[in-house]
């Protein structure tokens, strides 16, 4: 891929938390990937594997313990002027998981959506500000009269759309959607997904779409990264990943999704995941998946596998994989 197509480059990113004395929780450990302009990058993994931490470190809610994040060439954690930093916060936005916790219960929808407009002085008058909010409400399928309501008067799906309108108000280029639908009813999920897709086309947005459910990611993503305990296990184009999963963890995840065809569902083989996810505190140097991997070897318990490009665009971190050149 040519360089100018890359909008976000994450390189060896680390984010550790100190929990208690001499205990480090490596929530994100040495993760590298790039996101291309205009695409949707899906990020999947079990609960607690560090997806939110990764997203929040990219958007600077958390500082990086190591590594770098480049957005349009600029190091987001590096030194920059206050004005540059402020502009960056306009261009990168986030949609949150919990539609109940992500809206201030004491603010009216008008002020919630206008928060970014105010912070970046995008409206010249109160009238223009109100008009912008009304337009945004319309974009996400709500009405003008909703502007004077408080968040708790809305349903989960409506609230999530308010959150989307708030993020869109500042005209971002890149949006991190942190499990935007996992707290919603199944019937509403498709509605929100379709809205996100429509907005992406209309506004040329780039998405980092976080989910713990592979099936939704398959539908919306161009490329998918699979995370396990703070590191990236496999990364490939969406179709390639689903047709040809190489990492034992991805295989296990995929085999857990029921197939729509009952005959296929009957005959397919399952690779069940044994045991539970180990604690991420003070992990030893090893392949983090080794405690549950059916194919684990001695080597897996001693050293962590490196990401190798097995096929063009298909990266796997597993000792069983040999890069084509090697």
């Amino acid at each position: 891929m040519p360089e100018e197509k890359v909008i976000l480059q994450v390189k060896n990113l680390k984010r550790y938390f100190n929990v208690g004395k001499n205990q480090t929780l490596k929530a994100v450990d040495d993760v590298s990937f790039s996101i291309y302009r205009g695409e949707t990058f899906g990020l999947v993994g079990e609960s607690g594997c560090g997806k939110s931490t990764l997203g929040r470190t990219i958007i600077r809610l958390y500082g990086a313990t190591g590594g770098s994040v480049r957005f349009d060439g600029a190091d987001v954690h590096g030194k920059m002027s206050a004005a540059q930093s402020h502009e960056l916060s306009r261009r990168m936005q986030m949609i949150f998981q919990d539609p109940y916790a992500s809206l201030n219960p004491r603010m009216k929808v008008m002020d919630i959506i206008a928060e970014g407009i105010d912070a970046h002085h995008l409206a010249k008058s109160a009238q223009e500000r109100a008009q912008m909010v009304v337009d945004l409400l319309e974009v996400v399928g709500l009405q003008e009269e909703h502007a004077n309501r408080f968040p708790h008067e809305f349903s989960g799906g409506q609230r999530q759309r308010i959150g989307i309108a708030r993020a869109l108000a500042v005209n971002p280029d890149f949006v991190i959607a942190d499990e935007p639908i996992s707290a919603l009813d199944v019937s509403i999920q498709a509605q929100v997904i379709n809205l996100l897709k429509k907005l992406q086309e209309e506004r040329k947005l780039t998405y980092l779409f976080i989910a713990h459910d592979l099936s939704m990611v398959k539908y919306i993503s161009d490329r998918v990264g699979v995370m396990y305990l703070g590191s990236m296990a496999e990364l490939a184009e969406s179709r390639e990943l689903f047709d040809n999963p190489l990492h034992p963890y991805t295989q296990a995840l995929l085999s857990a999704i029921p197939l729509p065809d009952p005959d296929l569902e009957q005959s397919r083989s399952r690779v069940p995941l044994q045991g539970s996810i180990p604690s991420p505190i003070n992990l030893p140097e090893c392949c983090h998946f080794c405690s549950r991997c059916p194919k684990a070897t001695e080597q897996c318990r001693k050293e962590a596998p490196k990401m190798v490009e097995v096929k063009p665009g298909h990266f796997v971190a597993c000792h069983l994989m040999k890069s084509p050149q090697a």
């Binding site: 936005q93 004491r106 708790h152």
Partner: protein, 307 residues
Amino acid sequence: MTKTEIPQELFVKAEVDKEAREHIARPNLTAFQDGWLRLKKNKAAVCSLFILIIVILLALFGPVFAKHTFFDTDYSQIYKSPSAAYPFGTDQFGRDQWARIWQGTRISLLIAFTAAFIDLFIGVTFGAVSALFGGKVDAVMQRIIEVLVGVPQLIIVILLMMVMPAGIWTIVLALSITGWVNMARLVRAQILKLKSQEFVLAARVLGTSNREIILKHLIPNTVGVIVINAMFDIPSAIFTEAFLSFIGIGLAEPNASLGVLINNGYHVLQNFPYLLIFPALVIILIMVCFSILGDGLRDALDPRMRQ
């Protein structure tokens, strides 16, 4: 069982207009109107508010309308039972209990409100600074609180009363030295909780300045906790003051506070019970009403509590 046939034609697709589907039926209200409406629905809280207003009015104007001042003695009228001339009777010096009780209520309320206000001011500032700065500042400030909590309040108060002249301001100071700790802890906990809430994260992602985050997100969501805690601070200050006066280290004669009056009545309980009953009733009314009102306010101030 009989089977009823429903012909296909009877089924009509219900058309829901898109606008109507997103419609919300509640009328539009400001936060204040909304809170007031909900408080009004709570009968016990409204009653308490009403009683408190009457007690406060009596405390302010009761002594003014009395025929005698609270320190006038009249040795021909000692230990008179309640009558038209002396609605609450008289004490061992023939002082008008009516004047003394409202004067005592006035002093008790003055002490309680001042102490609650000081607690509020110090507690909110301390808690907010501790939570907002975090890190080392927070650690040091938390140690200070732990030390203060470790020393029993009564010991501090008694020591203080011994070195300072007995009086209203000594009691206020004694109450405030440790009284703000609770408020500081609550405010700190609330702000810490809010700081990691997604709507505050969203504000940071949007580039909202720290000042705006404090003004628009943190303070409005902490006001409820502050008001309610202050509401519970008042009865507890009244009680502590009464307790100090009762054990004899509070206000001194001829000054009156509810505690002084109760102490006085307690000594002659068997012969002249009205000397104890009336001040005790007033103190109970004040404490119970403040607690019920505090509870009602907690519910009323939370927009999520309404149906």
